[in-house]
């Protein structure tokens, strides 16, 4: 018989996990970490955080400290999580600006990306290409697209998090997609990815 302590389980409802996390159950908070940390990390990395792994941990510590008063479902939790992530990122970027450090991360300066691009498997090449294309977007467009894709947030949620109008977010999203479409047409992207 499968019990909570077993590894082999079918998906657990978010509400169950949330309720347990709010009671400080380690398994539940661990589930939230495993589920959402990669997306948060991906967003922070794409926006130029110097230590995205550390910052991701900070985000989750803050979230878990406040989770007892959280109300809502999974969509609201995502919005809450990325709101905290965005604020922490903003703090980091401002502090670096005040210290006179280089502002924005650029794809060229990220040696980690170079290492990924050297992998030879077809899927990995496609993945590296995808990351490179998104990372090459102007910062505002990249921010909207990463929140949209990685955070699975709506335009309205992104608008609230970033302090932009919904119309502005939509415009950035559309411009980013047009930008990407042009790049993809210049350098054909393997649409077979959809068939994988």
């Amino acid at each position: 018989m499968v019990r909570l302590g077993d590894r082999a389980t079918v998906g657990v409802p978010f509400e169950t996990v949330l309720a347990a996390a709010q009671s400080d159950a380690a398994w539940a908070q661990g589930t939230l970490w495993r589920t959402f940390a990669p997306s948060v990390h991906g967003f922070l990395r794409s926006r130029g955080s110097r230590e995205p792994e550390d910052l991701t941990s900070e985000v989750f510590m803050a979230v878990f400290d406040q989770i007892g008063t959280f109300r809502g479902g999974e969509a609201e939790f995502r919005s809450f999580l990325f709101t905290v992530a965005y604020r922490r990122l903003t703090d980091e970027l401002r502090q670096r600006g005040r210290r006179g450090e280089a502002e924005e991360w650029t794809p060229e300066s990220d040696t980690r990306q170079t290492a990924s691009a050297e992998e030879t498997a077809e899927a990995q090449l496609g993945d590296a290409a995808a990351i490179a294309l998104i990372d090459a977007l102007p910062v505002d467009q990249r921010e909207v697209m990463t929140l949209r894709i990685l955070g699975d947030l709506t335009v309205e949620q992104i608008a609230q998090i970033t302090g932009k109008r919904a119309g502005a977010v939509k415009a950035l999203q559309r411009r980013a997609l047009e930008n990407l479409r042009k790049k993809v047409s210049d350098n054909p992207y393997p649409s077979s990815a959809l068939q994988r």
Binding site: V2, G30, T35, S39, Q95, R148, L153, Q157, R174
Partner: protein
């Protein structure tokens, strides 16, 4: 290249990794979105900080992927599964848990009476598709209110999203798929073949165990949760109450002590 402009609706679909209808020319873009979603999260094999690791105790915490059924009312399905399969007793427990949080907490801590604990364990390990639950929602929580950080004191902004109604479930217990991966359908089949709830629970658990051995982590998110949740949240607008990074009204969650924090 088809130079036809990408509409807002098409942009939404693309961002969710779907190819807009009648826009095959946008297939590469949709593929790009999906690849990025997968790559950016898979490559993030991150480790928590020492403090967080101690809190999470990941080494001793088994993995529980979040339910990945974007069109299924999750908690309603779970409760129906409980009441239909394991008797009124567990349904009462779950109802109490929903009301007070106590029973759910006790269940998650493994402290329910043996029979109820067994049923609770089975409950959280089973997803049973149902029909006729179209109008029920899981989301009766308050909406988050997003307040921008006031790190400089000048740019605080308030806003909040309205609560999101849960997606409409579309699965049925009489699904005709014969695919062995259709665990929900298999559960329904087993249900029809057994008389005892406990016997059924045991069979379901065995099936779940076998099925779970083939599953990895589910990242919801959009994301590896194949982002089973992608694109259908339906949040819109702002409302007053809920969770806020920095709350001025005393409600919800506030991120304290981070403003002006130095590395």
């Amino acid at each position: 290249m088809n130079n036809r402009r990408i509409s807002s609706r098409e942009a939404e679909e693309l961002a969710s990794g779907r190819v807009p209808s009648a826009r095959r020319d946008l297939e590469p873009l949709a593929a790009l979105m999906e690849d990025y979603r997968r790559a950016a999260t898979v490559q993030s094999r991150i480790q928590p900080s020492a403090a967080l690791a101690a809190r999470l105790d990941l080494a001793n915490t088994p993995e529980f992927p979040l339910e990945q059924a974007p069109d299924t009312d999750r908690s309603t399905v779970a409760v129906r599964a409980a009441s239909g399969l394991f008797g009124v007793g567990l349904a009462v427990v779950i109802a109490l848990g929903a009301a007070s949080g106590a029973a759910a907490l006790v269940g998650s801590a493994g402290m329910l009476p043996p029979d109820a604990q067994s049923a609770f364990d089975d409950l959280v390990s089973v997803i049973v598709p149902t029909e006729g639950a179209a109008d029920e929602t899981t989301d009766d929580g308050e909406a988050p209110s997003d307040t921008l950080p006031n790190t400089g004191g000048d740019d605080a902004t308030e806003g909040a999203a309205e609560p999101t109604p849960a997606p409409t479930p579309t699965t049925t217990p009489d699904a005709e798929e014969s695919d062995d991966d259709n665990f929900g359908g298999r559960v329904a089949e087993i249900k029809d073949e057994t008389e005892s709830g406990r016997e059924f629970g045991d069979q379901v658990s065995d099936e779940a165990k076998d099925n779970g051995n083939g599953n990895g982590n589910g990242n919801s998110g959009s994301n590896g949760n194949s982002n089973g949740n992608s694109g259908s949240n339906g949040n819109s607008g702002n409302s007053g109450n809920g969770n806020s990074e920095k709350s001025n009204n005393g409600n919800g969650n506030s991120d304290k002590g981070n403003n002006g924090k130095n590395d």
